[in-house]
Subunit: 348 residues, 2 copies
């Protein structure tokens, strides 16, 4: 039915072992034999049986990439970067493929997918996105990751904080510093009444950004207001819309709103506009992440750039063992303030 190694071997007049060695290139084969085999492969249109080779070699060409939501460019960019590191390059070489798993941010789903990846005998797994801060889940997750590693998979966390030692390799962002600088930027413009839309509760990303924000406020002697003007919500547009209205209710005179991310910021802008408030004249708005659309918003969003592509590419290299990890296994990427037109000195 389908062409096998043995067929190729027969055609080339060699043994199956030799064909395998030519194909895997990890054993000396004479030049003439090699070319005879390759010709036979070509003529028969032979395609390796991946499962068979994974079974025999006890490891597959598959790398799992866990994301909260692949439709969100935040994760799409990271998935794309991982894939371009592990997949076939411009030369067509490289056989690894990415299994993208949409967890929807749900802890159980995360565990389910990790088991499925172990079942596929994945060569590695990249976990992107912030982690859920539930002790129970953290433990279950840690156990699952250890089992994966025991099964021979390389685990890399990307964009989430390191797990307690000895945890998996980690590539993360300085969320806290970014949030601090963003807040300092607004403070330096003269803002004193800042609303903060914090993102979903119980996630590390949310907490780190909030900490950075409060750090800056405390340094400016505004710690008291922080509690009152912080609203939790999802990482989506609707949360931004509703959250902005809620903040205005709590303090109709606030002059700036920091959104949990760029998408939330869009919702904030829509709400402010519907309320007849101008940006930035009446209220300054900031995002976070610097996704491609941030620069196209009107006004262009002041935000914090995360080097999503670079970080995920590095995660991709680490998962393949193509890059040596730093001592401790944790790489933290800096974040950068992108001051644009959605922030200005308070005008009211």
């Amino acid at each position: 039915m389908s062409v096998t190694l043995a067929d190729v071997a027969a055609r080339a007049g060699v043994s199956a072992a030799t064909v395998s060695r030519v194909l895997n290139g990890n054993y000396p084969v004479a030049g003439s034999t090699r070319s005879r085999v390759l010709r036979a492969v070509d003529e028969l249109e032979y395609v390796v049986n991946g499962p068979a080779s994974a079974l025999a070699a006890a490891s597959s060409d598959l790398v799992g990439v866990l994301v909260n939501d692949i439709a969100d460019p935040f994760f799409g960019i990271m998935a794309s970067a991982v894939q371009s590191e592990i997949g076939p390059g411009p030369d067509g070489a490289g056989h690894k493929m990415a299994i993208v798993c949409n967890t929807g941010g749900l802890p159980e789903r995360e565990l389910t997918y990790l088991t499925l990846l172990q079942r596929q005998r994945a060569a590695g797994v990249v976990l992107t996105g912030g982690a859920v801060e539930d002790p129970g889940h953290a433990e279950a997750l840690g156990a699952r990751l250890r089992r994966l590693e025991a099964a021979g998979a390389q685990v890399v966390l990307c964009g989430r904080p390191p797990l307690p030692e000895p945890g998996p390799l980690t590539v993360t962002f300085d969320n806290r510093g970014g949030a601090r600088r963003l807040t300092e930027h607004l403070l330096s413009l003269g803002h004193r009444r800042l609303g903060y839309l914090a993102g979903p509760a119980g996630r590390t990303t949310t907490r780190h950004r909030l900490e950075g924000h409060r750090e800056a406020l405390s340094a400016a002697g505004l710690a008291g207001d922080a509690e009152r003007l912080t609203v939790q919500g999802a990482y989506d547009r609707a949360a931004g819309y509703d959250g902005a209205l809620e903040l205005l209710r709590r303090d109709p005179g606030l002059t700036a709103i920091l959104a949990a991310n760029d998408t939330v910021a869009l919702g904030v802008c829509a709400a402010l506009r519907d309320r007849g408030l101008r940006i930035p004249e009446d209220v300054s708005v900031t995002g976070f992440d610097d996704l491609p659309f941030a620069v196209d918003a009107t006004p262009a969003l002041t935000t914090v750039r995360l080097p999503l592509h670079d970080a995920a590419a590095r995660a991709g290299r680490l998962v393949l063992g193509r890059e040596t990890p730093p001592p401790g296994g944790v790489t933290t990427f800096p974040t950068e303030l992108m001051a644009r037109q959605s922030t200005a000195a308070p005008g009211r």
Copy 2:
């Protein structure tokens, strides 16, 4: 080292065959035996060896999803929809996983990935995005798809036109009708000098949208202008920016620009703004696709909504054989005009 079927069988006091049958549930097993086996599975934390089972069963739990660029929400939305159909549901059941392949729109890469998917013995493949209209590539692609199908994979095209009979199952959009209605909308507002940014040459999506556009122009007796005011370009923001400037050069008095898609439209808006032109007072702008950010643009983009999620979900069901295809195998989804604030009667 790792727990196998045999270990589970030993622990449950049954044969490996029985364990396999319990796990696959396609053969009668007595209730008491079944529960003994499941307990053993639990106690030993047994995880099926996917490659081994794929080898023995001659088909894996993997479904390939080819996209041009996973970082683009257009594809992200489709990938997400496919995944939610095939992957583990809310109940945790379902074992299929999606291998997302970024082709970058490159024909060779497309072929490379299809071979890789065949190598993985993928149960199915969903090809999204417009096809390249090169006869050579079309043939190579057709051959590759036939080989995949011969190898037992179910192939589904999603968002690209059907291949000549007997081609694979297809789910597609009425791009032409959408473009026609969009153009009619502008014509009915009174526009007579319309610029068109057509997207990359040699792709079916580009051609179909262009045809719809010209259809409407011809019906209005404006066929002559069409040629002159059409500019080809990429599907990105920069193409929109440059294209808009080029169109203004060709006809400084044009009153509307139709962009190849929403992302391109953002570039158009930026260029117009830089030129000091107001939207829609001076120039109306339209997008295509109705991606989430379209409604957040300022002004909100008039565009054509493609039911990306529904179409891709259907593709996901078709690829698993969970939905019976219509006779002929082609489903065309309608598109819908979303008239928003970026279009208005010409004001100059």
